[in-house]
Every structure is written in structure tokens, then in C-alpha cells.
């Protein structure tokens, strides 16, 4: 297990944020900053690629919960994709799966952003 390093990639008109293997209090602020920076850069829809994620803490969840309303009020959304089954299970138990937008693959997420964009 490695520390989570938040990285950002622009793919056409979508922006993809990757939190790394761990999303907890060590990188939650970095994650939230990446989201607000993307929003400030006129990316309405923000894709969070969770493919590498093995552990999410309350601060990790908070980095998304604390930013999603603002993104939605701006007419966009935070789209989680490639969510590993165990992370999805945690989101299910926390009753967040319906509240947050979760897509299966990266291509689904990119497509949904184009449709919504």
C-alpha cells in the first residue's frame, strides 16, 4: 500500500483526478483543492478515477462531500469511476452510492460528462 498522491489529467474537455491508493487525511485537502481548482478552471464535470484506491477514510469521503454541492450548483458534477468493489461497498454502507454519481468505466464517465457538458 502506498500513500495517496493526487494527480490530475486533462482529457479533451474532461478533467480526471486520481487520488492514488489511499484517500485519507494525508491527501484529502489536496484532493479537495484539485477539485476546486478544476472547477475554477471552468471544468464543470470532474471525473475522479478511483481505480487504484484501496482505502478511503472519513476525510477522503469528506473531500468529495465537501465539494460536490458546489460543483453541482455550478451545473456540473463529480463523477466517480472505476470504483473498486470494496470501496463501492463502503460507499453503499454509508448510504452515499445514490447521492454520489458513480459510473463504471472511464469511457462511461467521459461520455456522461460530454452529454452533460
Amino acid at each position: 500500500m502506498t500513500d495517496g498522491v493526487v494527480s490530475t489529467e486533462v482529457l479533451d474537455d474532461a478533467i480526471i483526478i486520481r487520488p492514488g491508493a489511499v484517500l485519507d487525511n494525508t491527501n484529502a485537502h489536496e484532493m479537495a483543492n484539485a477539485i476546486t481548482t478544476a472547477q475554477a478552471g471552468d471544468f464543470r464535470n470532474i471525473i475522479v478515477d478511483m481505480a487504484e484506491l484501496t482505502l478511503i477514510s472519513s476525510a477522503g469521503v469528506g473531500s468529495i462531500l465537501g465539494t460536490v454541492e458546489s460543483v453541482r450548483e455550478g451545473g456540473g458534477d463529480i463523477v466517480l469511476c472505476q470504483v473498486p468493489p470494496n470501496i463501492k461497498h463502503v460507499l453503499d454502507v454509508l448510504d452515499l452510492s445514490e447521492y454520489l454519481t458513480i459510473m463504471g468505466s472511464m469511457s462511461d464517465a467521459v461520455s456522461s460528462c460530454r452529454v452533460a457538458g
Binding site: T26, V61, G62, S63, N86, V90, D95, T101
Partner: protein, 255 residues
Amino acid sequence: MPVDMSRAPVVTVPANTTKDSISALTSEVESVLRSSTRQLRLDCSELQRTTSTHIRAIIIVWQHCCANNVTLSLESMSANLVRVLRVLDLHELLTRDKLAKPTDRTLQDDSPSTLDPITMTFKAASEAILPANQKFTQYLLDLGLKESTATELQVVFHEIVSNIVDHSEAASRSDIVFTAEPSRASLKMTFTDSGQPFDMTQIPDCDDLIALSRPGAIRGYGIAMIRRLTHAQDYHRDHDGNNTLTLHRNWKTKL
């Protein structure tokens, strides 16, 4: 298998829905239902400020879907809308189709196949968190727990240990002593440290993360998560300044 809703038609509830315009929404829904779809997605993203008319519109759409045996998925709900639906006791009803799928956790028995206890002692320091977490996760898997159950407990462990480390003083890092004692009924987890006292059981009872969410608020969800992922919590501080937090996770009770 869960229902794949990704290709289902989408109908949006407009923010400016009025009593008079509900009929237009209903007509749109009926039109979609006539296409023989088995699923319908109701986009609620415009409902940032929820009114009684919005709720009425959602219920009417839900009624039409029920009457046509169509699975309805409420999507992009704002925190405000979720809160209102929960206060009105409608949230579970309106999202019941999803909750009733075969993955329903109420039907699961999460008990382990072996009952070996473990004690771990490690520094209350940030660099010790992930190695300890890895060791605990491997222990849970060695017990024969399902991976999903192990993940839940891994999250709890990480949450508690991170919190102890956050509240310990760098100059006097104490040890954290952790024990896990599984039985046929439950897992008892005990965390002992000598840092600052913090009694989570005294924090007002709220386990709804969406209700707690606020723009810009990254922290403040930990206790709600622990309450969601365990069945009982107890805190004690002794005369020597040692904090003991005990958590119980039952194997056969719904989280």
C-alpha cells in the same frame, strides 16, 4: 446482479416545477413508460432547494413507475433533497428497489471461520498507520472474513488510529495498543493510548454523512462513519490517563 441503469431513459424534474406543470412532467414520464422500458432514471440535479411540489412530483413519478412495474432510480439528489426525503420517511421507500437487490446486506452472515485474537502495539505516529493497517487487514482475511467485511473494519481501524495520532503530541508519542477478539457473535476491538482524552460517545448521535456535509467541510465525518460501520462504542479514561475505546461489530446484525 444489480440492475444496470446506465442505459435507462432519463427524465428531469425541473427546478421551476409547479402544481400546474406536474402534469407536463407526468405526460413525459408516461411517454417514456410507453416505450416498454423497465427502468427510468429521474434526474433531480435541479432540485437544490426542495419544495413540497418537488416532493409531490417525485412521488407521482414513482407511483407511475410502480404501476408499470418499472424500476425508478433517483439520481443527482442534492443533500437538501435527501434530507427532506429522510425527514418525511420517504427516502427508503423511493429507493427501495435498489435496496432490495440480492446484495442486500441484511441477509448476510459475516462471521469468521477462526477465532484467533490479536494484539498489536505500535507508535502513535503517522508513519505507523499504514503498516499497522496492513497487518490488521491481513489478520481479518486470515480469520476468513469476506473481503467486504474486512474492508469495513479496515476503514474503522484506520479512522480510529488516525484520530489518535492526530490528537497525540509529537513530542511525547505514546504507544497504541490494539486488540481484536473475535467470537461467533461479534468482533470486539479495543484501542488504548495515553494521548488527549476524546470521548466519541459524548458527541451528539448522527450517522448520516449527507446530513453532516457542508460546502468546504472535509473533516467531521469520522464519528458518523464509525457509528455506521460498528454496532456499539464505549469509551473509558482511567486514573493513569489511559484512554480505552472499545468497538463491537456484530456478524449477523444489519449495519
